[in-house]
């Protein structure tokens, strides 16, 4: 295939389905005249007006910073605790009910509690984000570690590969396909929780702005914010995929490999 041909295919694979969805949306909004479903053109206009302004600095960047901080915290906690729990059946038996207990508590009701402990500043929001992101990472890490190949772990035991280097060379790498799955899940959950955390004790941020638009019945602006969230998720996912390709190159070569 030649260069342009390849570029066209690429654009088609990336943009084909979204374009189709926009068309459906246009048709629907034209037909229904629904106040809550403005036409795509109107939303695009609102998007330009709303987000190409100092809002980027005031609302989007602080949100992103909190998101990354919360995510990083969740990765550290999730992988760390996940490895420990995955390696020890006893620890797992003891910790699982407690973890499940917290996992089942909806973040909106957890927020007041976190506020008691961490105040109402950025720290609270970072904690809220981390408290939601951590679950898919933790669960996947635990399962990935439990599923390590027996012959490989025997090999490590035989050759005295222990402690940190066992962790590095066997446990983390062996579990990495599943850990990556968890990290990926957590990324979008992080965005969701970013919005939720900004619904409480907040006066800036992307999520806050969206809620404000919603309460002010500025529906096109609200949808433009949701659109921005989606775009943000997509960009982060692209970055993530690059990382994943590097980390899991051995895996896709070995398996049927299409992740």
């Amino acid at each position: 295939m030649n260069g342009t041909g390849r570029a066209v295919t690429r654009v088609l694979t990336v943009a084909g389905v979204p374009a189709l969805l926009v068309i459906v949306w246009q048709l629907y909004s034209a037909a229904s005249q629904n106040f809550y479903v403005p036409a795509p053109g109107r939303v695009a206009q609102a998007f330009a007006e709303t987000w190409f302004s100092e809002r980027i600095l005031d609302d989007v960047l602080p949100s992103l910073a909190r998101l990354l901080a919360g995510y990083a915290l969740a990765v550290a906690a999730g992988v760390g605790a996940g490895v420990a729990i995955g390696l020890s059946p006893r620890l797992r038996a003891a910790a699982e009910p407690v973890l499940e207990f917290f996992r089942a508590i909806p973040p909106p009701v957890l927020v007041p509690l976190i506020m008691l402990l961490a105040g109402i500043g950025d720290g609270m929001k970072v904690l809220v984000i981390a408290s939601g992101c951590v679950w898919p990472i933790l669960l996947n890490t635990v399962e990935g570690v439990r599923a390590l190949d027996e012959v490989l772990s025997d090999t490590c035991r035989m050759y005295g590969v222990r402690g940190l280097s066992r962790l590095r060379h066997l446990v983390l790498r062996g579990a990495s396909p599943q850990i990556m799955a968890g990290l990926r899940q957590a990324l979008s959950i992080g965005i969701i929780l970013m919005v939720i955390s900004e619904m409480f004790a907040s006066s800036s941020g992307l999520g806050f702005t969206i809620v404000l638009f919603q309460r002010g019945f500025q529906i096109a602006e609200m949808w433009s914010g949701i659109l921005l969230l989606g775009l943000l998720g997509y960009v982060l996912a692209l970055l993530f995929r690059r990382l994943e390709r590097r980390v899991l190159s051995w895996h896709s070569g070995r398996g049927v490999g299409r992740a």
Partner: protein, 260 residues
């Protein structure tokens, strides 16, 4: 095996007990004010009182019904979609942008749409629950499908297994551990969304009770209901774990735990 289960319960109870002690100590001795986070003993007392009322059981029933239905729909849809997207070459790439775009959109942002379509009814709750839980399972399925062993895959192809048989006998079992994790993730997320939907939209259920207690300043009752939510989560997990032990008996993560 008996002994295994017994000790597992023992450890689990010890873990929960430890949590209670910490909570009790935190509010009695120190960092948080008793009025804002009552001691565990009081919360449990209030929970016991709540459990004696019929409304609570009705509310819990409503929540669980929305949860179960939403989870079932999301799970089936996601597994089907994941299998198709993961198995048909090209489809994964074509849907990637859309999936990644839709996935991080918070369910809570869909509330206007939900109320618009369904009002404060079960439909709204379902929309939110399904939307949130769907992606959890889908992503897990996609990773699981990508994990199929090359030799096993070749084996299936060379023995002329049809596409459907390959999915059923090779792809599905390979993806199963991922799917089970997805189910556990989705079960919790669906439960959270069921409650959140009730909190925010006001459809009846446990979330509404929490909201009522909260806006009345009844802190102890509110935490009692939150604890109840957590306990439901524990129960759901016990169920999924039991299921997992059955369907994944062949898998290293499960067979490694049989006493040697």
């Amino acid at each position: 095996m008996r002994r295994g289960i017994g000790s597992r319960i023992g450890y689990g109870a010890a873990g929960l007990g430890g949590l209670l002690v910490v909570m009790e100590a935190a509010s009695r001795l120190g960092p948080v004010d008793e009025r804002f986070l009552p001691p565990a003993s009081e919360i449990l007392g209030a929970l016991a009182a709540e459990l004696a009322t019929a409304e609570l059981w009705i509310a819990l029933g409503e929540t669980m019904w929305g949860w179960a239905l939403g989870l079932a729909i999301a799970f089936c849809a996601a597994v089907a979609a994941g299998m198709v997207i993961g198995s048909v070459p090209g489809l994964r790439a074509a849907t990637h942008s859309t999936v990644e775009f839709l996935r991080p959109i918070p369910s809570v942002a869909l509330i206007p749409l939900a109320t618009l379509l369904f009002g404060a009814s079960l439909g709204s709750t379902l929309l939110l629950v399904v939307y949130a839980a769907f992606w959890q399972v889908l992503i897990q399925v996609l990773y699981g499908v990508a994990d199929v062993d090359a030799v096993a895959h070749d084996t299936a192809r060379s023995y002329g297994l049809s596409a459907w048989s390959r999915i059923r006998h090779l792809v599905w079992p390979t993806a199963l551990p991922y799917v089970m994790t997805g189910l556990r993730l989705a079960a919790a997320v669906a439960f959270i969304l069921a409650i959140t939907a009730e909190l925010v939209i006001g459809s009846p259920g446990l979330g509404l009770s929490i909201q009522a207690a909260q806006s009345a300043g009844a802190v102890t009752t509110m935490y009692a209901l939150v604890v109840l939510a957590g306990l439901v989560g524990v129960a759901v997990n016990v169920g999924v774990r039991a299921l997992e032990r059955r369907v994944l008996a062949w898998h290293p993560s499960v067979r490694g735990e049989a006493p040697v």
